[in-house]
């Protein structure tokens, strides 16, 4: 039995075979499991943008982009399998879309010289490119997010939140625990009281956490949730009549999927974001013409313009711009993974560039460098408008508390460097 299976497996792998040339990008998606509702739109947006570039422009610098999709189900072991199965194809960049998988891949990808772009998630201290050579988390990271939420609360309360009670409802995993250190530091700085309320994977069971919120009546609730956890949390908040405009989710807790289930009562719920929302951009006309109407859209093609679709598209756009930068630097269009890394490190996003792509004002301006793989920590707050059925930006982009975060990044990346015997350098 065992032998037959192995022979058959070997046959299948041989048949799959590696492809030649092209710029290869892997989409480690999850269209199944408890996180599928959020995994699908992101993956659709990610793939559609590459399809658009191929269909409209004939690829990047004349090289077609090949997207390899691999289903992880948000499961770490499957993510590792996906990575090993696809890295041999000359993959330029991975976008794991899971903090757990990112932690697995950081050492592996660094050893293999392949880049990871963990946009708005993953290991925050990877911002320090002197230590994490192949990991990029621009344009914003979790610690920025934690600071954005607090800054927003500060702004709403005239700059003084001492003595205020703030609760953090978080996914009890590496992902959910990321903001805790930062929030603790910020609570020291601004004098608010922090309550931590962990929710176990996958997050359907939150009765006791919300009972505690009802009892303690925190002035603000911040949420670090993903997948089904978001829906349940917002429904529970509606059930205990928690004021929605005091409830702020991280960017992964702010999509239509999360609020629609709770109906009109979810109106006013806030979520952070590091890119713009809606589909009112010139690029979407091309998207409709070349991808959706041409029947080439990924998935069911019904996600265009949703928050997470935009985010997936934004991730793909940053990847394509990094490819262009890499091609310029390397002087060749057929770049390899090492050249792609250099391209990502030299990436600069300006307003003019985004406007040229048909996405004016879509994301913050930033410039990547070896010292800073994480952008400038710009973010904004969006709010759910139940009547219109969409999230709307209610603030401009503002910067996170760089004093607090810079120190934490330096500390954590130094610890990682010592643990793993890495010599930090930028030459």
């Amino acid at each position: 039995m065992r032998k037959t299976l192995m022979t058959a497996a070997l046959g299948a792998v041989m048949a799959a075979g590696p492809a030649i040339a092209d710029l290869v990008v892997v989409d480690t998606s999850y269209r199944t499991g408890p996180y599928a509702a959020n995994g699908i739109p992101f993956s659709d947006g990610y793939q559609d943008y590459f399809t658009l570039i191929n269909e409209r422009d004939g690829g990047v610098g004349g090289e077609m982009i090949k997207v390899v999709e691999c289903e992880t189900g948000y499961n770490t072991e499957k993510g590792v399998e996906c990575y090993e199965a696809t890295k041999g194809e000359g993959t330029l960049v991975y976008q794991p879309l899971s903090t757990g998988i990112t932690y697995q891949l950081i050492p592996k990808a660094t050893a293999d010289g392949i880049s990871l772009h963990t946009m708005g998630y993953g290991r925050t201290s990877a911002k320090n490119g002197a230590v994490f050579k192949n990991v990029f988390n621009y344009p914003a990271n979790y610690w920025d997010g934690a600071s954005h939420a607090i800054t927003h609360i500060l702004n709403e309360n005239g700059g003084d939140i001492s003595g205020r009670k703030i609760a953090l409802v978080y996914h009890n995993s590496a992902y959910g625990k990321e903001p805790i250190r930062t929030l603790e530091e910020l609570s020291k700085k601004h004098g608010f009281e922090l309550t931590l309320l962990p929710v176990d994977h996958p997050g359907q069971e939150q009765k006791s956490q919300w009972l505690q919120i009802r009892r303690e009546k925190p002035d603000n609730v911040i949420m670090w949730g993903w997948g089904v956890m978001n829906q349940v949390a917002i429904q529970e908040a509606v059930n205990i009549r928690y004021p929605m405009d005091q409830f702020i989710g991280i960017w992964w807790s702010g999509s239509e999927n999360d609020v629609k289930a709770a109906g009109d009562k979810a109106n006013g719920y806030k979520a952070l974001t590091f890119h713009n929302l809606g589909s009112d951009y010139p690029l979407y006309d091309d998207m409709a013409k070349y991808v959706v109407d041409a029947g080439k859209a990924a998935g069911a093609g019904d996600q265009v313009g949703s928050v997470l679709y935009n985010r997936g598209m934004y991730a793909a756009m940053l990847a394509v711009e990094a490819m262009r930068t890499a091609q310029e630097l390397a002087g060749t269009s057929a770049i390899n993974a090492a050249q792609m890394r250099d391209g990502m490190e030299a990436l600069e996003m300006t307003e003019a560039k985004m406007a040229g792509l048909g996405l004016p004002g879509f994301g913050p301006e930033f410039k990547v460098s070896c010292e800073n793989h994480g952008g400038d920590g710009m973010g904004a707050v969006s709010q759910w408008n139940a009547e219109k059925g969409e999230f709307e930006l209610i603030t401009d982009y503002f910067q996170s508390d760089q004093d607090v975060i810079g120190a934490l990044v330096a500390e954590d990346s130094a610890a990682f460097a010592t643990e793993n015997g890495i010599e930090a350098s930028c030459n």
Binding site: V13, A85, G100, N420
Partner: protein, 358 residues
Amino acid sequence: MFYREAGDFKTSYAEDNQTFPIKFDRYRYYVVLLIAFAVVPFIINDYWVNAVFLPFLIYAIAAIGLNILVGYCGQVSLGTGGFMAVGAYACYKLMTSFPEVSILIHVIIAGAITAAVGVLFGLPSLRIKGFYLAVATLAAQFFLVWLFNRVPWFYNYSASGQISAPERTVLGVPVTGAETAPWAAYMVCLVFVAVSAILARNLTRGMAGRKWMAIRDMDIAAEIIGVDPLKAKLSAFAVSSFFIGIAGALFFSVYLGAVEVGEVFGINKSFLVLFMVIIGGLGSIFGSFAGAAFLVLLPVLLKNVLVGSLGWPTDLAAHLEFMIVGALIIAFLVAEPHGLAQLWRVAKEKLRLWPFPH
């Protein structure tokens, strides 16, 4: 024809009682070992190690461990994931506290620590059995995962609560961390699997194993003929947890390298290993291997065929995978409730008589 016994004479009890009494079977076993040790390491690459061999070998150790408890001693346990977590966290704490000691020794000590924890959670088995015991071990599963999530000491106060394996070497060759060569990781796990299987096989056919089986078949009768249920049950928990702890330690340090307890060692892991034992065959060492192979390799194979060769959408393939694996499990258990090991046994019986069955 293949399994000829004619001319295969035994002249001593030792020969008669060996694990593979038929010559052909014995040689086949040697050939498998030879290929595993002397051929595979030279042809193996990253993909085969990380997607196929490491999970297969490590789950095989866990399945052997659970098989001792469930298959040989009849104590149903749903705490496997929790015990694997104990092995992983023990290994992590040892690795970071005593970096100068060999990782191999740490893995074995992690197994011993898990054995102690296993005995602790095995205590209720003296009063309760069957489904009630399953629920008690389920409590162990949830408690242990909660503990490793709750107490920062276990993950060295890291900000994310993850544990990650630093680089450790055996004879100068890195076996954990990113620089590990595929063959090195494979060899470490292979050695542990081979030793575990030989140990388990000899334990189960010796006095300890007979006591366990007596308890499994009828505990009151066993007590009457002089088996001490306390010692028998607790030793089964200890030995079983020892293997599961080793599996957990290898799973964390050699295979994944970084672990998040809730996701990797959750209740799903307990079920997965239990299914391996049931599908492979209760009370069979070969069954543990067969079950691990079935549940680790089949999904990878299906994925490669459906997505890689046929080019189907990944989500459709993922859903189909669940359905096909589920249907096959049901089909297997309907056709042969004693698992793959029994199928193999029947096939061997048939082959012994083939082509002249009487």
